[in-house]
């Protein structure tokens, strides 16, 4: 397998892997390092790639493991928000901008505070729009477990949202 074939196969997943890692490590530089490490490992096994059932699932599992290792080794909190991370794309009034930024940051913190498995499942489903089957393969957990975890995660988010709206917490 040459470089061109390799990039055609794995580069479509780079942003997804990056976002997934960013969720854990909380640093853009470190998340990119993780994705690079994943790609290097995959390149070193390029002749075995065809044996993988799903490259995406393989990459996701490795990204998760490397990110968790990185996070744990540095004893870093995962809810740190990088500078400019939540800047809205559309220009709006300063007041609206601040409001949206605040609301989005709040949701970010809320999801970051979820248990690890719930956080991963909600990320892969809501952000990456992966099917239950794909999530199951990426995280190496049964499909039913994915559904239950997602249900619990969403219930928590809903409760927190309503709580915030009612009490301004």
């Amino acid at each position: 397998m040459n470089w061109k074939e390799f990039t055609q196969l794995v580069m479509p997943h780079k942003d997804k892997l990056y976002r997934f890692s960013l969720r854990f490590v909380g640093s853009e530089v470190e998340a990119e390092d993780v994705v690079q490490e994943v790609m290097i490992k995959l390149w070193n096994q390029k002749d075995e790639i065809h044996k993988l059932v799903s490259i995406e699932a393989w990459c996701m599992r490795l990204t998760k493991n490397l990110s968790i290792d990185k996070m744990r080794s540095k004893h870093k909190r995962t809810n740190a928000i990088p500078e400019g991370y939540d800047m809205p794309a559309k220009q709006a009034s300063p007041h609206h901008l601040a409001e949206v930024r605040d609301a989005v940051s709040r949701i970010h913190r809320l999801i970051a505070a979820l248990p690890e498995k719930q956080k991963m499942v909600i990320q892969l489903r809501d952000i990456e729009q992966m099917t239950y089957d794909e999530i199951s393969k990426a995280l190496s957990i049964p499909v039913n477990n994915v559904k239950v975890t997602l249900h619990r995660a969403r219930q928590k988010v809903k409760a927190q949202l309503l709580n915030v709206e009612s009490y301004g917490l």
Binding site: N2, W3, K4, T7, M11, K14, D15, L17, Y18, R19, L22, E28, A31, E32, V35, Q36, M39, I40, W43, Y85, D86, P88, A89, V100, A103, V104, R106, I107, H108, I111, R125, D126, I127, Q129, T131, K147, L150, H151, R154, Q155, V157, K158, L161, L162, E165
Partner: protein, 167 residues
Amino acid sequence: MDYSTITKLLNKYWEGETSITEESQLRDYFNQDEVEASLKEYKPLFDYVKKEQSVKISNDFEAKLKAELGIDEPNVVATKTRRLNFYLLRAAAAAIFIFGVFFLYQKSGAIEQQRDLVYEDTYEDPEEAYLKAKEVLLLLSSKMNKGTGTAAASMKKAEKATARIKR
């Protein structure tokens, strides 16, 4: 999308029972500037999802990875292509040269054969050859004179016709 449909979809969403398509419909609804007042509290969640989806790795990621792996693939491919073309050209030139030499050889053989035919003697006795040649030339001459006579008759007819026209 009407309020009741959105509410139903939202309830399904919280229960974790929505399909990918239904979740996409929900995102489309909540990513609008204005949503139903009673649903406003959920809007930040979908704004957050949209924001997260736009997060991308740095543009030069691939270049950095390539440098890290010490890969210079495009140049390798280009060199290979150039080498391949060069070999093809050399092979084609050699083939043209061989065929050229072969055809020249064939052609020169045929010319030699023709030359042999032209200069081949048919009579052994020069006297006999001279008489035969004279006979052939006389025959040729008589035929030519016959042709000249016919031409002269035609000329006379033409002159008569011209004279009549002039009158």
